[in-house]
């Protein structure tokens, strides 16, 4: 039986098929299986509070993976994530509350509707690049939010709509643990899909578009098709994340999907590492748990200096901005890159060269 700590130490691929394999050695598969088992059995030994937090992290991770497909793989900057989350959330709200459809139908439908809307707003991407596309998506964010709060009859206007938890047969997913399982399973499917996306023709086309889109066009990649496709696929996942969040909190309202949310998701993707699926997940966990961690630190400090509570609370915003800037300056590859560095360090440990 092979040593579990065997790692690849070089590039000995002899066939194309071997090069594209997801797991290099048997030990990698085992390690991922162990991680999977830990995740799936988490509710058994972690407190309810943590299960709830991790559910929020998982939902953000799905959205971050979606955004990463657009921004990290295909290089199209999008500041409109918040609005697309809203489209997903509202679609599932309308389908389940107004039309009484089951959650299991409305979830994929929410993804599809958001994908279509995303594709629509991706059409300008043919003519616009970089900054201009970012501003176009910003405009999309503002306009979609406006439409949601105005279209009273369908969306309930500014008062929002209420939703209920999904039901399997007779069992309602009210507990934290049950929703956690739902989210983790969907997250795993998302990760499976996106990691495999990179191995296909479509994924390679995305990467080519990111690196040099004019050169890609010369090589025969239909820019318009692939750019819009990137928007569609990315918005699908963002819509699913929005729908999951809506059913978790059981409410949708236009105030939940403002530009702050978009900035947070962009931060997740950037801090996690552009173009890396692991990065999206790490970034999502980091950004979601950062305020929680800061609150604990504030509490700790407040126990000693109670008058400064107000001062410390305002630090959260400051630290958020500081974290983004520090990561961008010192580690542009993000958390995924840091993780790679750690792995590389141990790869040849104890020999450092």
């Amino acid at each position: 039986m092979r040593n579990l700590f065997v790692r690849e130490c070089g590039n000995y691929k002899t066939s194309y098929k071997k090069d594209m394999k997801l797991f290099g050695t048997k030990s990698e598969i085992i390690k991922w299986l162990i991680l999977l088992i830990i995740l799936l059995t988490l509710p058994l030994y972690a407190s309810n509070y943590w299960v709830g937090l991790l559910t929020l992290c998982a939902i953000s991770a799905i959205g971050a993976i979606g955004l990463n497909i657009l921004t990290g793989f295909t290089g199209q900057i999008s500041i409109g994530v918040g609005a697309f989350l809203g489209v997903g959330g509202y679609t599932t709200a309308i389908l389940t509350t107004t039309y009484g459809l089951s959650f299991w139908i409305s979830l994929p439908l929410a993804g599809i509707v958001t994908a279509l809307v995303g594709g629509l707003f991706g059409i300008p991407s043919l003519r616009l690049k970089g900054l201009y596309l970012a501003i176009a998506t910003l405009a999309a964010q503002v306009i979609i939010t406006f439409i949601i709060s105005r279209w009273d009859r369908v969306t309930g206007g500014t008062a929002g709509m209420v939703l209920s938890r999904p039901v399997i047969g007779n069992y309602v997913l009210t507990s934290n643990a049950s929703y956690y399982y739902l989210t983790i399973i969907i997250l795993m499917l998302t990760v499976l899909y996106s990691v495999n996306l990179l191995r296909t023709r479509v994924g390679r086309a995305f990467l080519a578009v990111r690196d040099r889109d004019i050169a890609a066009q010369i090589m025969g990649i239909n820019l318009f098709y692939y750019k819009v496709l990137a928007f569609i696929i990315s918005s699908f996942f963002v819509g699913i994340a929005g729908a999951l969040l809506a059913h978790y909190t059981m409410i949708v309202s236009p105030e939940l999907y403002n530009i702050q949310v978009s900035i947070q998701y962009l931060a997740m993707v950037l801090i996690g590492g552009l173009g890396s699926i692991l990065g999206s997940i790490l970034g999502a966990i980091f950004i979601t748990l950062l305020p929680v961690g800061l609150t604990s630190v504030v509490d700790l400090l407040t126990a000693y200096m109670p008058d400064l509570y107000q001062l410390f609370s305002a630090f959260k915003e400051f630290v958020f901005g500081l974290a983004i800037i520090l990561f961008l300056i010192f580690e542009p590859g993000g958390l995924a890159h840091i993780w790679q560095n750690i792995k590389n360090y141990f790869r040849v440990w104890p020999f450092s060269y």
């Binding site: 105005r150 305002a314 915003e317 800037i325």
Partner: protein
């Protein structure tokens, strides 16, 4: 009559937009960065001015100059510490850095001054002027005058002064400017300082109009349509774009609001953005970039 009042309103409101947009454009031309933290530069100005006025008990003009100095320092610090490090980073990194910067600066303002609205002691005369039936507050009129003066000053500055020429050169082609012996570092620093000062002036004017509170930084987002309309790298475009957006906003608010149930004032600039991006992405006065593979 109504139309005229709307137009005049739009022009005077737009003058402030133009001012803030000016800083935006200057930074874009020199650093190639979309400074989404401009709103926070606007935010710092009036707070500093108030602090100087109240704690040191100096008249407005002295506090004004003090604010200019402070804003310049702020712009310098930002440029040195943040933007300098991201010189070769991809566009999205720089956009994200300015977003992070806006959180940071906004957080700093909240930490130091909290959230309550403060008011300026009356600096400009308060009674509104009645120009043949059109009512204008002196503050708005003053901001219009200041913007026009600044426009003239900047035109002269960029055309005739050494630093102005250097700024234009650096914006045009950084390598060539370097090889001509210009200190690009110095020019970039000056650009950010001027941009921050201009934003600070805009903030002081805004603060006089409506009180000083943290929501003032929202103007940072509202001027994005202004710079897109005018062209990201055109100073004239920023000012004229400001007027145009102000006018369009007010006209839409005045005429279309009753039809849609209100709230159009904030969405219309972004609809204009989408239209412009569709039809003429580089704006009215912007220059087309050439992309090389």
């Amino acid at each position: 009559m109504f139309l005229l009042q709307m137009l005049i309103n739009g022009i005077v409101v737009g003058s402030i937009y133009g001012l803030v947009a000016l800083g935006f454009v200057l930074i874009y031309r020199a650093s190639g960065a979309l400074n989404l933290a401009n709103g926070e530069f606007v935010l710092f100005g009036p707070y500093i001015c108030l602090v100087i006025m109240t704690s040191l008990n100096v008249p407005f003009l002295a506090a004004f100059i003090g604010t200019l100095i402070f804003s310049a320092v702020l712009g310098l610090v930002v440029e040195r510490l943040v933007i300098r490090q991201l010189q070769n980073a991809p566009t999205i990194s720089v956009i994200m850095a300015t977003l992070g910067l806006s959180s940071l600066l906004a957080g700093a303002v909240h930490i130091i001054w909290g959230h309550s609205t403060r008011t300026f002691p009356p600096v400009f005369p308060q009674t509104p002027l009645n120009l043949g039936g059109i009512i204008v507050t002196p503050v708005y009129l003053w901001s219009f005058i200041i913007v026009v003066i600044l426009l003239i000053v900047f035109s002269i500055f960029f055309k005739f002064s050494k630093i102005g020429l250097a700024m234009r050169a650096v914006a045009d082609d950084r390598q060539a400017a370097l090889s001509m012996g210009m200190s690009v570092k110095f020019v970039l620093a000056v650009t950010w300082m001027i941009a921050a000062m201009v934003a600070g002036i805009g903030g002081i004017l805004l603060g006089n109009i409506n009180g000083v509170n943290p929501t003032m930084s929202a103007i940072g987002l509202t001027v994005l349509p202004v710079v897109i309309l005018g062209g990201l790298d055109s100073v004239i475009g920023a000012i004229i774009g400001g007027f145009l957006i102000g006018i369009i906003q007010n006209l839409a608010g005045g005429y279309l609001d009753p039809l849609v149930g209100g709230g159009l004032k904030d969405v219309v600039p972004f609809i204009v953005v989408l239209l412009i991006l569709m039809l003429k992405p580089h704006g009215l006065f912007g220059s087309r970039g050439i992309e090389r593979v």
